[in-house]
């Protein structure tokens, strides 16, 4: 028996109709997520469980196939076979509770001429709201199989599978009628288009003509290849307008005129009821309680993301350093082992550490999406976001960025206005993420004097708060500027958003999506991060400094000092020919002179051990001072000096490009401080450091300047990697990096120079 021929089916339908839930039900975990070539739209595909020859493609949720958005263009291109081979079957997923609008896109799919099955989803919710739907009437009227189901519970999925494996004949299209005035012109335009191009299948010509007539984006496609068709179409539009023919909504009206009576026949409203959803909305979008609830949710989510993630992050950190340590000790010493341990494992670890936070954030974002609260948050916040030229949809991506810019940038996908999406991505990294927190903490604790302002606010807390405020205000400012000067093309920000009924979230769906999204982050960003980590390791390790002689020197010095200590103790001996007593742990010797001698000997021993211990730290310090990073720090020093930064801070900034918090460990190494993460030792070392002329390297003003630099600078290769992925070009990540770096430089310059003018230090 030969295996059955491979077939592909496409899931198509409106957003919020449970399409992805059904996709997960049909494919189980046999899924692949990639991008459609050349665009940022996700291509989710998988194989039907139990029938590996059937490929299921989950198309992006669309209200229409007329290409107003990228998602709609891709969905259409897939369905007519302009992306891959055309699917053998289309499953239109429709919300039973909102049949009329949902059948609109179904009627468009039926015109394509593929076999169509209608999956009538969420019949349970429809019934709860008093709607009774007769699937057999619907089937007879539409002329395609209709399978009622509840995808969240898996009900009806088996029947759907059976129907998929026994597909119907291609659906009969154009059952609706176009108004006569427009209809009369379709054959002429069809002939014109066929004469000029031959890439459109005969069955799709009418659809192309209607799309081109109604929608500028669709018409523009033919500008190069079919100029005469475009000219004639534009002429007709004018002619229609003069005669008062509503060409713009000819197709829409025709379709709804067909759908309306069908839904009236198939759907019976048993009772008119305010739904539960309406009652919840009365509360959650209430003029006072609504914003309050939103605030509570936000604070709750952030609290959870920060505090719940901490134990896991600590565990990962410990695990990674233990793993790196094991690698160091198991493999033979040499540059390859160092690269593996210090470059690859530590570098990737710097990012993996944020995975718990990212997972949690994706979980909460998914929860808000699945319950329908996401749309409400946009509804509540739109008015505020409109001020900077964005819409309510940007609220959650931007707020997520407080935890980490990566999920924030990924969450921007929910924006269907491409211009809004790009602007949101570009400003998301200005929101102070959790990686900046350790840097803020170190420098604020070290250089901002503890105390209170006006007796109430702690100065250190206030400083921390201003860091967050600065970033947020700048993000909004940058959005307004980008909108005005950079992303000037594209549609104005508008707000047309469905407020779907509230739904009970399903744990399985939530967890599945959380894992999928995190995996996308880990895999895609991981590759770039790995490459950058390796480069940074080389920069920190080469050129190799001969630290062995340095170590020997330190060891010799330590030994000499110990000798000296003993020699000094010897001078105290009562008799010149007396030998020093044996080293004793206790000072309880009775004789005060002998006790003093014992104390000096112990001191000498202690100093010796400490010097030997520090030898390794000094060695590392010497290496990084002599390395390419140290060298870059020195090259940058003249540029950074106006900001108050010396070469060590500059070198730290270079290394912080891997991830912001790395500056702490780099400074730790440069200052030869063990356990830099603990903070206290490093804090003291920073405060004690002096320029050759005796000025302190770190003053409170330098610290503030550095803090401001961290607020604005984009020092995070993971963010660049994810921005590259989400915008599908290096151009925007590059622009992002440039504008943020320039911003950071200017802001720090103003702080430091301004502060000096004011006589601050």
């Amino acid at each position: 028996m030969s295996p059955p021929d491979p077939i592909s089916i496409a899931l198509v339908g409106n957003p919020n109709v449970g399409k992805t839930t059904l996709f997960n039900r049909l494919t189980g975990l046999n899924q692949r997520i990639a991008n459609f070539p050349g665009v940022t739209v996700e291509r989710k595909s998988g194989t039907l469980t139990g029938a590996p020859h059937v490929e299921v493609i989950d198309l992006p949720g669309t209200y229409s196939l007329t290409p107003k958005s990228l998602d709609e263009r891709i969905a259409y291109e897939v369905l007519v076979g302009r992306r891959d081979k055309a699917p053998d079957l289309a499953v239109c997923v429709v919300d039973a509770g909102n049949l009329e609008r949902n059948l609109y896109v179904a009627s468009q799919v039926m015109d394509i001429g593929v076999p169509v099955i209608v999956a009538l989803n969420m019949i349970d919710a429809a019934e709860e709201n008093g709607l009774v739907i007769d699937a057999s009437v619907l089937e007879a009227e539409l002329g395609v199989p209709v399978i009622p189901l509840v995808a969240t519970r898996g009900e009806g999925v088996d029947q759907l599978k059976k129907q998929i494996l026994d597909p119907p004949e291609p659906a009969q299209g154009y059952r609706w009628s176009l108004m006569d005035a427009v209809s009369a012109k379709v054959p002429e335009l069809s002939r014109q288009l066929t004469a000029e191009v031959d890439e459109v299948q005969p069955g799709h010509i009418q659809m192309e003509v209607l799309r081109a007539l109604a929608e500028d984006n669709a018409l523009d496609v033919w500008r190069g290849s079919a100029p005469e068709f475009v000219r004639r179409t534009e002429e007709l539009r004018k002619e229609f307008a003069e005669r008062g023919v509503a060409w713009r909504h000819a197709e829409v009206s025709g379709r709804y005129a067909w759908i309306g009576p069908i839904t009236n026949k198939a759907v019976r409203r048993e009772r008119e009821s305010t739904t539960v959803s309406d009652r919840i909305d009365a509360l959650l979008t209430h003029s006072i309680f609504g914003p309050l609830f939103f605030l509570v949710i936000l604070i709750g989510v952030f609290q959870a993301v920060f505090s719940w993630a901490t134990p896991a992050m600590d565990l990962i950190e410990t695990g990674i350093s233990a793993f790196a340590g094991t690698v160091q000790s198991v493999f033979p010493p040499g540059w390859a082992t160092d690269l593996l341990a210090d470059g690859v494992i530590t570098g990737v670890g710097n990012v993996v550490v944020f995975l718990p936070q990212i997972l949690l954030l994706f979980f909460f974002l998914g929860l808000m999406e699945d319950t329908g609260y996401m749309a409400r948050s946009a509804f509540i916040m739109d008015r505020i976001m409109k001020r900077v030229g964005l819409s309510g949809g940007s609220v959650l991506p931007l707020l997520s960025s407080y935890a980490c810019a990566i999920p924030g940038i990924m969450a921007a996908r929910t924006l269907d206005n491409e211009r809004d999406r790009l602007i949101t991505i570009m400003v998301a990294p200005l929101m102070s993420c959790s990686a900046r927190l350790p840097v803020y903490t170190l420098f604020i604790a070290a250089f901002i004097p503890a105390g209170t302002l006006m007796g109430v606010f702690g100065t250190q807390g206030l400083a921390m708060f201003s860091m967050y405020m600065m970033g947020t205000v700048m993000a909004f400012g940058a959005a307004a500027v980008l909108k005005r000067f950079v992303f000037t093309k594209g549609p104005e920000s508008y707000f047309v958003m469905e407020l779907p009924p509230y739904r009970r979230p399903r744990a399985r769906q939530l967890l599945l999506r959380m894992i999928q999204r995190s995996k996308v982050f880990a895999v895609r960003a991981g590759k770039i991060i790995l490459a950058c980590s390796i480069v940074l390791w080389f920069l920190a390790s080469y050129p190799a400094v001969d630290t062995d002689s340095l170590r020997m020197q330190i060891e010799m010095q330590a030994a000499e000092q110990r000798e000296a200590g003993y020699a000094e103790a010897e001078t105290l001996l009562p008799a010149p020919d007396m030998a020093l007593p044996a080293l004793d742990d206790s000072l309880d010797v009775g004789d005060p002179v002998m006790a003093q001698i014992q104390a000096m000997m112990q001191q000498a021993e202690y100093n010796y051990t400490a010097a030997m211990d520090s030898a390794q730290l000094v060695q590392q310090s010497a290496q990084i001072r002599g390395s390419a990073i140290g060298y870059m720090g020195r090259i940058l020093e003249p540029v950074m000096q106006p900001l108050g930064f010396d070469w060590k801070i500059s070198a730290g900034l270079v290394s912080a490009f891997a991830a912001r918090e790395v500056i702490i460990s780099t400074l730790g190494i440069i200052y030869s401080v063990a356990d830099a993460e603990e903070g206290v030792a490093l804090r003291d070392a920073l405060k004690a450091d002096r320029y050759p002329d005796g000025r302190p390297v770190f003053t409170p003003l330098v610290a503030v300047s550095l803090l401001v630099f961290f607020v604005f600078a984009l020092q995070c290769m993971s963010t660049l990697a994810i921005a590259r992925r989400e915008t599908n070009t290096w151009r925007w990540p590059l622009v992002m990096w440039l504008y943020m770096t320039i911003l950071a430089y200017i802001a720090s310059l103003l702080v430091y120079q301004g502060g000096q003018l004011l006589g601050l230090s």
Binding site: Y63, S64, T66, K68, G97, N98, E100, R101, Y104, A214, E215, D216, A246, R248, H249, V252, S253, Y256, D278, D281, A282, T285, H286, S287, I288, G290, P291, A375, A378, F379, I380, D382, R383, I384, K386, G392, P491, Y494, F495, V496, M497, E498, L499, P500, P501
Partner: protein, 75 residues
Amino acid sequence: MTLQDLRPGESGRILEFEPNAVTDRLMEMGMLPGSVVQVVRLAPLGDPMDLKVRGYHLSIRKAEAAQIRISKCEA
């Protein structure tokens, strides 16, 4: 009058649209000349509006609502 002029709880029948991409989208989502639209409520800050159209909730800004001419339905 336009849809913007309706107060929460009031309904109107759509007469015509300013022709542009946003109103094209609204039509595809079921707001056609002749359709009845109810303003359910306004967002806490007074904008956008929550509309009920063809049995579902749709939110649009007042600026968009101002592009839709309606005749008010008497309650």
